[in-house]
Amino acid sequence: MTLLSQIINGIQIGSIYALVALGYSMVYGIVKLINFAHGEIIMVGAYCAWYLIARLNMPAWIAVFFAILLCVILGVTIEIVAYKPLRNSARISLLITAIGISLLLQNLAQLLFKADPRMFANLFPGSKPFLGLQLTNATLVTIAVSVVLMAALSLMVSKTKIGKAMRAVSEDKAIAELMGINVNTTISFTFAIGSALAAIAAVLYCCSYSQIEPTMGSMLGLKAFVAAVLGGIGIIPGAVLGGFLIGVFESLTKGFISSNLADAVVFGILIVVLLIKPTGIFGKNRREKV
């Protein structure tokens, strides 16, 4: 019984990781950037939804819509202003820029909203019985949303024209352009999707964990990124699988090994997996042809 309930606990947080990891994977897939600012976009989305619902008393769905809109605008603006000039530079410069943006957003939020945490009212209250346990509605919605989005995004990348463009751009931007692909639009589009995912993740995160604060995105982002790597970064189903796995590992470790060492055990598992399968679970091991 506790085993089952620990697994359910894990799936709950895991579904959030999965959703966030999807955003990481989309962006990483195309520009090979660990977008450290992704966590902060989630934070912005959360504050936006909270502000509209709690302060301006807007209906939830309108608030969610505006949160997505704001995050998309923010994500695309960041890409154009801060990342685009660095497209041909070393990837590490891009990484540092992302870290800078992340710090910037976090501290702007701290100025604007103060450091005090805010609570977000659950949009999906209640729970459903499941094998004798209770699964909260928020969890069910999060799982459903992450699985549906995973399927939709996978289809988009493999079947649509824009998906094709994304794959080409991720391989070689200059050559993609020679194929007639508008690289700038494609990258902006990817950031838009990544940011929309962040906003959705933000709202669902708040429904499950209610607390909003300026630093909420950093650890969440880091764990989700680890999840994306575990599944095979850049691979959409991998991100979701990785998210659920990290959540379940974490919960089982806390439940049955040691709650104090949980983070260490989770990272330990990650390391072991990567040593066995160096490109993550769904990653393809590709040796360079010489």
Binding site: K164, R167, E171, A174, I175, E177, L178, M179, R286, K289
Partner: protein
């Protein structure tokens, strides 16, 4: 069809292309020859918009394209097979060809793909192989095949015969001739200058970023200085 006027291209402070002008007329095969580092590839990259000239002017099909982005040029019918193959290493052969047909409708992509496979049966054999693991020559075939998928009006080829087996080199030049007959204008850069001049109408000779000679291919083939420097005596 293509008019290049007084372009200058810099890499940092290196002036790789100096005040170069040339033109390619509809239906022609024009070749650029010159030693290593003469600036041939740089010219092609400038025309296709991969790099921007510091000064000068480029016209394609009657309109100024000096600062038009490359992806728009593709739609106007310009194809560039860049130096060093530059195929999509992590995609399969088939996916690479798909990308080549990005601007085509999906029904046409199928037909074009079949014709590429007919030209290069080796590619059909390897169609589900990851392109990065192809042999050097197979990659070269793929690069050319990919460009054919775009059905260009003007095709610029940068050393298409590099790394190909002799039998395939002949085949590549045959293909170029065929394409040209079917209406595609060709701008060709080749180290194999003899072959290039044999199929070309006209040629330009480059030395350290400048055009030093331009004439019909026939005349260039018998030009002493060209023979001496580029045709192996």
């Amino acid at each position: 069809m293509l008019v290049v006027k007084n372009i200058n291209v810099f890499y940092g402070v290196i002036n790789a292309v100096k005040d170069i002008s040339f033109e390619v007329n509809e239906g022609e095969i024009v070749t650029l020859i010159g030693a290593n580092g003469a600036g041939k590839s740089t010219i092609l990259k400038t025309v296709s918009g991969m790099i921007r000239p510091a000064s000068g002017f480029i016209e394609f099909l009657g309109s100024d394209i000096t600062s038009v982005e490359s992806f728009k040029l593709v739609k106007r019918g310009l194809a560039h097979v860049p130096e060093g193959r530059r195929i999509f290493l992590n995609l399969t052969v088939q996916e690479n060809l798909d990308m080549g047909g990005y601007i085509q409708s999906s029904s046409e992509v199928k037909a074009l793909q079949q014709s590429v496979y007919e030209r290069f049966p080796r590619l059909r054999e390897r169609r589900n192989q990851i392109a990065g693991t192809l042999s050097g020559g197979e990659q070269q075939m793929l690069a050319i095949g990919r460009a054919l998928m775009g059905r260009p009006k003007l095709m610029m080829l940068d050393e298409p015969s590099m790394g190909l087996a002799p039998i395939l080199v002949d085949q590549i030049f045959e293909i170029i001739k065929e394409l040209n007959k079917a209406g595609t204008t060709i701008l060709l850069v080749e180290q194999n200058a003899r072959m290039a001049l044999t199929i070309a109408n006209r040629g330009y000779v480059l030395e350290t970023g400048r055009i030093v000679l331009s004439d019909t291919a026939k005349n260039l083939l018998v030009d002493d200085s060209v023979k001496q420097a580029y045709l192996g005596g």
